[in-house]
Symmetry: C2
Subunit: 227 residues, 2 copies
Protein backbone atom coordinates (compact mmCIF):
# COMPACT_ATOMS: atom_id res chain seq x y z
CA UNK A 1 0.00 0.00 0.00
CA UNK A 2 1.55 3.31 -1.02
CA UNK A 3 1.11 6.13 1.42
CA UNK A 4 -0.24 9.52 0.40
CA UNK A 5 2.76 11.69 -0.40
CA UNK A 6 3.09 15.44 -0.06
CA UNK A 7 5.87 17.92 -0.62
CA UNK A 8 7.12 20.10 2.22
CA UNK A 9 9.59 22.88 1.42
CA UNK A 10 11.71 24.77 3.94
CA UNK A 11 13.03 28.14 2.72
CA UNK A 12 16.53 28.93 3.97
CA UNK A 13 18.50 32.18 3.68
CA UNK A 14 21.70 33.64 5.12
CA UNK A 15 21.29 34.39 8.81
CA UNK A 16 18.42 31.96 9.38
CA UNK A 17 18.19 30.65 12.97
CA UNK A 18 18.79 26.95 12.60
CA UNK A 19 16.44 25.73 15.35
CA UNK A 20 13.59 27.60 13.63
CA UNK A 21 13.68 24.90 10.95
CA UNK A 22 15.59 21.95 12.46
CA UNK A 23 12.90 21.56 15.15
CA UNK A 24 10.00 21.42 12.66
CA UNK A 25 12.10 19.36 10.22
CA UNK A 26 12.66 16.70 12.90
CA UNK A 27 8.93 16.48 13.63
CA UNK A 28 7.81 16.49 10.00
CA UNK A 29 10.48 14.00 8.86
CA UNK A 30 8.53 11.44 10.89
CA UNK A 31 5.17 12.09 9.18
CA UNK A 32 4.44 9.14 6.85
CA UNK A 33 4.45 10.25 3.22
CA UNK A 34 6.25 13.55 3.82
CA UNK A 35 8.79 14.42 1.12
CA UNK A 36 10.88 17.26 2.48
CA UNK A 37 13.12 19.63 0.54
CA UNK A 38 15.32 22.30 2.05
CA UNK A 39 15.89 25.10 -0.44
CA UNK A 40 17.50 28.50 -0.83
CA UNK A 41 17.68 31.04 -3.65
CA UNK A 42 21.16 29.93 -4.73
CA UNK A 43 21.02 26.29 -3.60
CA UNK A 44 24.52 26.63 -2.15
CA UNK A 45 25.30 25.70 1.48
CA UNK A 46 23.92 27.94 4.21
CA UNK A 47 25.79 28.55 7.45
CA UNK A 48 23.44 29.06 10.37
CA UNK A 49 24.79 29.78 13.84
CA UNK A 50 27.97 27.88 12.92
CA UNK A 51 26.29 24.80 11.44
CA UNK A 52 26.70 24.30 7.69
CA UNK A 53 23.67 22.93 5.83
CA UNK A 54 24.59 21.45 2.46
CA UNK A 55 22.82 19.69 -0.44
CA UNK A 56 20.11 22.33 -0.62
CA UNK A 57 17.73 22.67 -3.54
CA UNK A 58 17.50 25.83 -5.60
CA UNK A 59 14.14 27.46 -4.96
CA UNK A 60 13.67 28.10 -8.68
CA UNK A 61 13.95 24.33 -9.25
CA UNK A 62 11.09 23.60 -6.85
CA UNK A 63 8.04 23.43 -9.06
CA UNK A 64 5.44 23.40 -6.31
CA UNK A 65 4.82 22.23 -2.77
CA UNK A 66 1.95 21.31 -0.52
CA UNK A 67 3.42 22.93 2.57
CA UNK A 68 5.67 26.00 2.53
CA UNK A 69 7.64 26.71 5.71
CA UNK A 70 9.58 29.93 6.20
CA UNK A 71 11.81 30.14 9.28
CA UNK A 72 13.21 33.38 10.70
CA UNK A 73 16.36 34.64 12.34
CA UNK A 74 18.66 37.64 12.45
CA UNK A 75 18.93 37.36 8.65
CA UNK A 76 15.25 38.25 8.30
CA UNK A 77 16.25 41.91 8.23
CA UNK A 78 18.26 41.51 5.01
CA UNK A 79 15.88 38.91 3.60
CA UNK A 80 12.93 41.35 3.73
CA UNK A 81 14.80 43.30 1.04
CA UNK A 82 15.60 40.34 -1.23
CA UNK A 83 13.18 40.39 -4.20
CA UNK A 84 14.32 36.97 -5.47
CA UNK A 85 13.58 35.32 -2.13
CA UNK A 86 10.23 37.09 -1.70
CA UNK A 87 9.28 36.24 -5.27
CA UNK A 88 9.91 32.52 -4.71
CA UNK A 89 7.94 32.60 -1.46
CA UNK A 90 5.03 34.29 -3.26
CA UNK A 91 5.17 31.79 -6.17
CA UNK A 92 5.28 28.68 -3.97
CA UNK A 93 2.66 30.04 -1.56
CA UNK A 94 0.21 30.44 -4.44
CA UNK A 95 0.08 26.68 -4.96
CA UNK A 96 0.51 25.45 -1.41
CA UNK A 97 -2.19 23.96 0.79
CA UNK A 98 -0.48 25.34 3.90
CA UNK A 99 1.58 28.53 4.01
CA UNK A 100 3.51 28.66 7.25
CA UNK A 101 6.30 30.30 9.21
CA UNK A 102 8.26 30.05 12.42
CA UNK A 103 9.63 32.99 14.42
CA UNK A 104 10.32 36.10 12.30
CA UNK A 105 9.62 34.05 9.17
CA UNK A 106 6.17 35.66 9.34
CA UNK A 107 7.81 38.99 8.47
CA UNK A 108 8.94 37.37 5.21
CA UNK A 109 5.44 36.08 4.50
CA UNK A 110 4.23 39.62 5.22
CA UNK A 111 6.89 41.21 3.01
CA UNK A 112 5.80 38.84 0.24
CA UNK A 113 2.31 40.33 0.56
CA UNK A 114 0.71 37.23 2.01
CA UNK A 115 -0.53 38.41 5.41
CA UNK A 116 -2.69 41.46 4.77
CA UNK A 117 -5.65 41.30 7.13
CA UNK A 118 -4.50 37.96 8.50
CA UNK A 119 -3.60 36.97 12.05
CA UNK A 120 -0.02 35.76 12.52
CA UNK A 121 2.49 34.82 15.22
CA UNK A 122 6.09 36.04 15.36
CA UNK A 123 9.05 36.16 17.73
CA UNK A 124 7.88 38.33 20.65
CA UNK A 125 10.55 40.98 20.09
CA UNK A 126 9.55 41.61 16.44
CA UNK A 127 5.85 40.80 16.61
CA UNK A 128 4.57 44.38 16.39
CA UNK A 129 6.29 44.86 13.02
CA UNK A 130 3.60 42.67 11.43
CA UNK A 131 1.18 45.58 11.72
CA UNK A 132 3.28 47.59 9.24
CA UNK A 133 2.17 45.08 6.59
CA UNK A 134 -1.50 45.19 7.53
CA UNK A 135 -1.27 41.87 9.36
CA UNK A 136 -2.72 41.33 12.82
CA UNK A 137 0.03 40.45 15.34
CA UNK A 138 -1.12 37.55 17.52
CA UNK A 139 0.68 36.60 20.76
CA UNK A 140 -0.31 32.94 20.36
CA UNK A 141 2.45 30.32 20.23
CA UNK A 142 0.81 28.71 17.20
CA UNK A 143 -1.70 30.76 15.22
CA UNK A 144 -4.00 29.27 12.58
CA UNK A 145 -5.84 31.56 10.17
CA UNK A 146 -7.28 29.54 7.31
CA UNK A 147 -4.42 27.86 5.46
CA UNK A 148 -1.88 30.08 7.25
CA UNK A 149 -0.19 28.49 10.26
CA UNK A 150 2.45 30.59 12.01
CA UNK A 151 4.57 29.88 15.07
CA UNK A 152 6.17 32.18 17.63
CA UNK A 153 9.86 32.51 18.36
CA UNK A 154 12.37 29.73 17.60
CA UNK A 155 11.30 26.85 19.90
CA UNK A 156 7.64 27.50 19.08
CA UNK A 157 8.53 25.74 15.84
CA UNK A 158 8.21 22.37 17.57
CA UNK A 159 4.70 23.14 18.82
CA UNK A 160 3.88 24.54 15.38
CA UNK A 161 5.13 21.38 13.67
CA UNK A 162 3.11 19.06 15.91
CA UNK A 163 0.02 21.15 15.10
CA UNK A 164 0.83 20.89 11.39
CA UNK A 165 1.55 17.15 11.67
CA UNK A 166 -1.92 16.67 13.15
CA UNK A 167 -3.44 18.57 10.20
CA UNK A 168 -1.47 16.50 7.70
CA UNK A 169 -1.70 13.04 9.23
CA UNK A 170 -4.14 13.16 12.13
CA UNK A 171 -3.70 13.71 15.85
CA UNK A 172 -2.66 10.13 16.66
CA UNK A 173 0.33 10.36 14.32
CA UNK A 174 1.29 13.73 15.80
CA UNK A 175 1.04 12.28 19.30
CA UNK A 176 3.20 9.29 18.31
CA UNK A 177 5.84 11.67 16.99
CA UNK A 178 5.67 13.71 20.19
CA UNK A 179 6.26 10.53 22.21
CA UNK A 180 9.12 9.38 19.98
CA UNK A 181 10.77 12.78 20.49
CA UNK A 182 10.05 12.63 24.24
CA UNK A 183 8.61 16.11 24.00
CA UNK A 184 7.54 16.82 27.57
CA UNK A 185 9.50 20.01 28.04
CA UNK A 186 10.84 20.79 31.50
CA UNK A 187 12.94 23.95 31.28
CA UNK A 188 15.12 24.60 34.33
CA UNK A 189 13.90 28.22 34.38
CA UNK A 190 10.61 30.04 33.69
CA UNK A 191 12.19 32.64 31.47
CA UNK A 192 10.71 31.75 28.08
CA UNK A 193 8.39 34.74 27.72
CA UNK A 194 8.71 38.45 28.52
CA UNK A 195 5.78 38.07 30.93
CA UNK A 196 7.53 35.38 33.01
CA UNK A 197 11.22 36.30 32.72
CA UNK A 198 12.90 38.09 35.63
CA UNK A 199 13.03 41.86 35.03
CA UNK A 200 16.84 41.95 34.77
CA UNK A 201 16.82 39.13 32.21
CA UNK A 202 14.19 40.88 30.10
CA UNK A 203 16.16 44.14 30.30
CA UNK A 204 19.30 42.36 29.14
CA UNK A 205 17.61 40.75 26.12
CA UNK A 206 15.81 43.99 25.22
CA UNK A 207 19.12 45.85 25.34
CA UNK A 208 20.67 43.33 22.94
CA UNK A 209 17.62 43.53 20.67
CA UNK A 210 17.79 47.33 20.63
CA UNK A 211 21.19 47.24 18.91
CA UNK A 212 19.73 45.69 15.74
CA UNK A 213 16.27 47.24 16.02
CA UNK A 214 16.74 50.44 13.90
CA UNK A 215 17.96 48.35 10.97
CA UNK A 216 15.12 45.85 11.32
CA UNK A 217 12.48 48.58 11.62
CA UNK A 218 13.86 50.36 8.55
CA UNK A 219 13.87 47.11 6.55
CA UNK A 220 10.30 46.29 7.52
CA UNK A 221 9.10 49.83 6.78
CA UNK A 222 10.75 49.77 3.36
CA UNK A 223 9.36 46.31 2.57
CA UNK A 224 5.85 47.39 3.57
CA UNK A 225 6.12 50.48 1.35
CA UNK A 226 6.94 48.26 -1.63
CA UNK A 227 3.72 46.25 -1.33
Amino acid sequence: VSKPSFEIVFVLFEGVTQLDFTGPHQVLSRVPGAAIRVASVAGTPITADGLVFASLSRLADVERCDVLIVPGGFGTTAAMGDPALLGEIRRLAAGAGFVTSVCTGSLLLAAAGLLEGRRAACHWASRDLLALFGAIPDPGRVVCDGHLITGGGVTAGIDFALTLAAELAGPETAQAIQLSLEYAAAPPFRSGRPETAPAEVLARVEKATARTWPERLAAATAAAARL
Copy 2:
Protein backbone atom coordinates in the same frame (compact mmCIF):
# COMPACT_ATOMS: atom_id res chain seq x y z
CA VAL B 1 37.72 42.89 27.79
CA SER B 2 38.14 39.39 26.39
CA LYS B 3 35.58 36.85 27.53
CA PRO B 4 36.57 33.49 28.97
CA SER B 5 36.61 31.01 26.11
CA PHE B 6 35.89 27.30 26.23
CA GLU B 7 35.72 24.55 23.65
CA ILE B 8 32.52 22.57 23.14
CA VAL B 9 32.61 19.51 20.88
CA PHE B 10 29.58 17.72 19.43
CA VAL B 11 30.25 14.14 18.28
CA LEU B 12 28.31 13.17 15.14
CA PHE B 13 27.95 9.76 13.52
CA GLU B 14 25.81 8.20 10.80
CA GLY B 15 22.20 7.86 11.92
CA VAL B 16 22.37 10.57 14.57
CA THR B 17 19.04 12.26 15.29
CA GLN B 18 19.59 15.86 14.26
CA LEU B 19 17.44 17.54 16.92
CA ASP B 20 19.51 15.76 19.60
CA PHE B 21 22.35 18.15 18.75
CA THR B 22 20.77 21.05 16.85
CA GLY B 23 18.67 21.96 19.91
CA PRO B 24 21.65 22.10 22.30
CA HIS B 25 23.82 23.71 19.59
CA GLN B 26 21.33 26.56 19.25
CA VAL B 27 21.32 27.19 23.00
CA LEU B 28 25.08 26.89 23.46
CA SER B 29 25.93 29.00 20.39
CA ARG B 30 24.51 31.93 22.39
CA VAL B 31 26.75 31.40 25.44
CA PRO B 32 29.42 34.14 25.44
CA GLY B 33 32.87 32.65 24.91
CA ALA B 34 31.67 29.29 23.60
CA ALA B 35 33.78 27.93 20.74
CA ILE B 36 31.80 25.07 19.21
CA ARG B 37 33.10 22.33 16.93
CA VAL B 38 30.99 19.65 15.33
CA ALA B 39 33.07 16.57 14.61
CA SER B 40 32.86 13.01 13.31
CA VAL B 41 35.36 10.19 12.90
CA ALA B 42 35.88 10.87 9.19
CA GLY B 43 35.12 14.60 9.15
CA THR B 44 33.01 14.13 6.03
CA PRO B 45 29.40 15.35 5.81
CA ILE B 46 26.79 13.53 7.87
CA THR B 47 23.22 13.12 6.67
CA ALA B 48 20.75 13.11 9.54
CA ASP B 49 17.04 12.66 8.90
CA GLY B 50 17.52 14.16 5.44
CA LEU B 51 19.54 17.20 6.49
CA VAL B 52 23.19 17.27 5.37
CA PHE B 53 25.67 18.70 7.88
CA ALA B 54 28.95 19.74 6.22
CA SER B 55 32.25 21.34 7.27
CA LEU B 56 32.70 18.93 10.17
CA SER B 57 35.98 18.51 12.01
CA ARG B 58 37.77 15.16 12.20
CA LEU B 59 37.60 13.93 15.78
CA ALA B 60 41.29 12.94 15.64
CA ASP B 61 42.11 16.60 14.87
CA VAL B 62 40.35 17.81 18.02
CA GLU B 63 43.11 18.02 20.61
CA ARG B 64 40.90 18.55 23.63
CA CYS B 65 37.66 20.13 24.75
CA ASP B 66 36.04 21.52 27.86
CA VAL B 67 32.61 20.11 27.11
CA LEU B 68 31.99 16.87 25.23
CA ILE B 69 28.44 16.34 23.93
CA VAL B 70 27.33 13.02 22.45
CA PRO B 71 23.87 12.94 20.85
CA GLY B 72 21.94 9.76 20.06
CA GLY B 73 19.64 8.41 17.40
CA PHE B 74 18.86 5.27 15.46
CA GLY B 75 22.55 5.09 14.50
CA THR B 76 23.48 4.51 18.14
CA THR B 77 23.05 0.79 17.53
CA ALA B 78 25.87 0.65 14.96
CA ALA B 79 27.93 3.30 16.76
CA MET B 80 28.12 1.18 19.92
CA GLY B 81 30.25 -1.21 17.83
CA ASP B 82 32.58 1.43 16.34
CA PRO B 83 35.92 1.27 18.19
CA ALA B 84 37.25 4.43 16.49
CA LEU B 85 34.26 6.48 17.63
CA LEU B 86 34.30 5.07 21.17
CA GLY B 87 38.07 5.61 21.39
CA GLU B 88 37.71 9.30 20.48
CA ILE B 89 34.88 9.73 22.98
CA ARG B 90 37.04 8.13 25.70
CA ARG B 91 40.07 10.28 24.80
CA LEU B 92 38.18 13.59 24.75
CA ALA B 93 36.17 12.72 27.86
CA ALA B 94 39.43 12.22 29.80
CA GLY B 95 40.29 15.91 29.46
CA ALA B 96 36.83 17.45 29.55
CA GLY B 97 35.30 19.39 32.40
CA PHE B 98 31.82 18.21 31.43
CA VAL B 99 31.05 14.89 29.75
CA THR B 100 27.53 14.92 28.45
CA SER B 101 24.95 13.26 26.23
CA VAL B 102 21.46 13.67 24.86
CA CYS B 103 18.99 10.85 24.16
CA THR B 104 20.68 7.49 23.45
CA GLY B 105 24.05 9.24 23.37
CA SER B 106 24.38 7.97 26.95
CA LEU B 107 24.64 4.44 25.51
CA LEU B 108 27.76 5.60 23.67
CA LEU B 109 29.21 7.11 26.84
CA ALA B 110 28.43 3.78 28.53
CA ALA B 111 29.95 1.75 25.70
CA ALA B 112 33.07 3.90 26.03
CA GLY B 113 33.27 2.76 29.65
CA LEU B 114 32.41 6.13 31.16
CA LEU B 115 29.22 5.41 33.09
CA GLU B 116 29.99 2.51 35.43
CA GLY B 117 28.25 3.16 38.72
CA ARG B 118 26.97 6.53 37.47
CA ARG B 119 23.41 7.79 37.10
CA ALA B 120 22.40 8.73 33.57
CA ALA B 121 19.38 9.72 31.49
CA CYS B 122 18.47 8.23 28.11
CA HIS B 123 15.57 8.11 25.66
CA TRP B 124 12.75 6.34 27.55
CA ALA B 125 12.58 3.44 25.09
CA SER B 126 16.27 2.51 25.51
CA ARG B 127 16.88 3.66 29.07
CA ASP B 128 17.02 0.21 30.66
CA LEU B 129 19.95 -0.77 28.44
CA LEU B 130 22.20 1.46 30.55
CA ALA B 131 22.12 -1.18 33.28
CA LEU B 132 23.98 -3.62 31.00
CA PHE B 133 26.99 -1.30 31.35
CA GLY B 134 26.75 -1.00 35.13
CA ALA B 135 25.19 2.47 34.87
CA ILE B 136 22.11 3.49 36.85
CA PRO B 137 19.21 4.40 34.51
CA ASP B 138 17.53 7.58 35.72
CA PRO B 139 14.12 8.72 34.42
CA GLY B 140 15.02 12.37 34.94
CA ARG B 141 14.86 14.73 31.96
CA VAL B 142 18.28 16.15 32.84
CA VAL B 143 20.50 14.12 35.16
CA CYS B 144 23.64 15.52 36.80
CA ASP B 145 26.14 13.15 38.43
CA GLY B 146 29.36 14.99 39.12
CA HIS B 147 30.81 16.20 35.84
CA LEU B 148 28.40 13.98 33.89
CA ILE B 149 25.26 15.71 32.58
CA THR B 150 22.88 13.60 30.52
CA GLY B 151 19.57 14.43 28.91
CA GLY B 152 16.57 12.26 28.05
CA GLY B 153 15.12 11.70 24.59
CA VAL B 154 15.65 14.18 21.72
CA THR B 155 13.84 17.36 22.85
CA ALA B 156 15.27 16.95 26.37
CA GLY B 157 18.44 18.27 24.77
CA ILE B 158 17.08 21.82 25.00
CA ASP B 159 16.46 21.49 28.75
CA PHE B 160 19.86 19.81 29.10
CA ALA B 161 21.56 22.66 27.24
CA LEU B 162 19.95 25.37 29.37
CA THR B 163 21.14 23.48 32.46
CA LEU B 164 24.63 23.29 31.00
CA ALA B 165 24.56 26.96 29.95
CA ALA B 166 23.80 27.89 33.56
CA GLU B 167 26.79 25.83 34.72
CA LEU B 168 29.06 27.45 32.13
CA ALA B 169 27.90 31.06 32.27
CA GLY B 170 25.51 31.45 35.19
CA PRO B 171 21.72 31.26 35.47
CA GLU B 172 21.06 34.80 34.22
CA THR B 173 22.78 34.07 30.91
CA ALA B 174 20.86 30.80 30.59
CA GLN B 175 17.60 32.63 31.28
CA ALA B 176 18.43 35.30 28.70
CA ILE B 177 19.02 32.57 26.11
CA GLN B 178 15.74 30.90 27.05
CA LEU B 179 13.93 34.22 26.51
CA SER B 180 15.69 34.87 23.20
CA LEU B 181 14.59 31.41 22.01
CA GLU B 182 11.06 32.02 23.37
CA TYR B 183 11.27 28.66 25.10
CA ALA B 184 7.91 28.43 26.83
CA ALA B 185 6.80 25.15 25.35
CA ALA B 186 3.10 24.62 24.72
CA PRO B 187 2.66 21.27 22.96
CA PRO B 188 -0.79 20.77 21.43
CA PHE B 189 -0.93 17.28 23.01
CA ARG B 190 0.20 15.70 26.28
CA SER B 191 1.87 12.76 24.63
CA GLY B 192 5.53 13.41 25.40
CA ARG B 193 6.05 10.61 27.90
CA PRO B 194 4.88 6.99 28.11
CA GLU B 195 3.09 7.87 31.36
CA THR B 196 0.98 10.61 29.75
CA ALA B 197 0.51 9.34 26.18
CA PRO B 198 -2.82 7.74 25.22
CA ALA B 199 -2.56 3.93 25.40
CA GLU B 200 -3.04 3.47 21.65
CA VAL B 201 -0.29 6.00 20.92
CA LEU B 202 2.12 4.27 23.30
CA ALA B 203 1.29 0.89 21.75
CA ARG B 204 1.98 2.25 18.28
CA VAL B 205 5.39 3.69 19.24
CA GLU B 206 6.32 0.55 21.18
CA LYS B 207 5.44 -1.57 18.15
CA ALA B 208 7.72 0.54 15.95
CA THR B 209 10.48 0.37 18.56
CA ALA B 210 10.16 -3.42 18.79
CA ARG B 211 11.21 -3.81 15.15
CA THR B 212 14.73 -2.49 15.85
CA TRP B 213 14.97 -3.69 19.44
CA PRO B 214 16.65 -7.10 18.94
CA GLU B 215 19.49 -5.46 17.02
CA ARG B 216 19.90 -2.70 19.60
CA LEU B 217 19.85 -5.14 22.51
CA ALA B 218 22.45 -7.35 20.81
CA ALA B 219 24.70 -4.34 20.11
CA ALA B 220 24.47 -3.12 23.70
CA THR B 221 25.10 -6.60 25.10
CA ALA B 222 28.16 -7.03 22.89
CA ALA B 223 29.48 -3.56 23.73
CA ALA B 224 29.04 -4.21 27.47
CA ALA B 225 30.91 -7.55 27.14
CA ARG B 226 33.87 -5.72 25.57
CA LEU B 227 34.34 -3.42 28.57
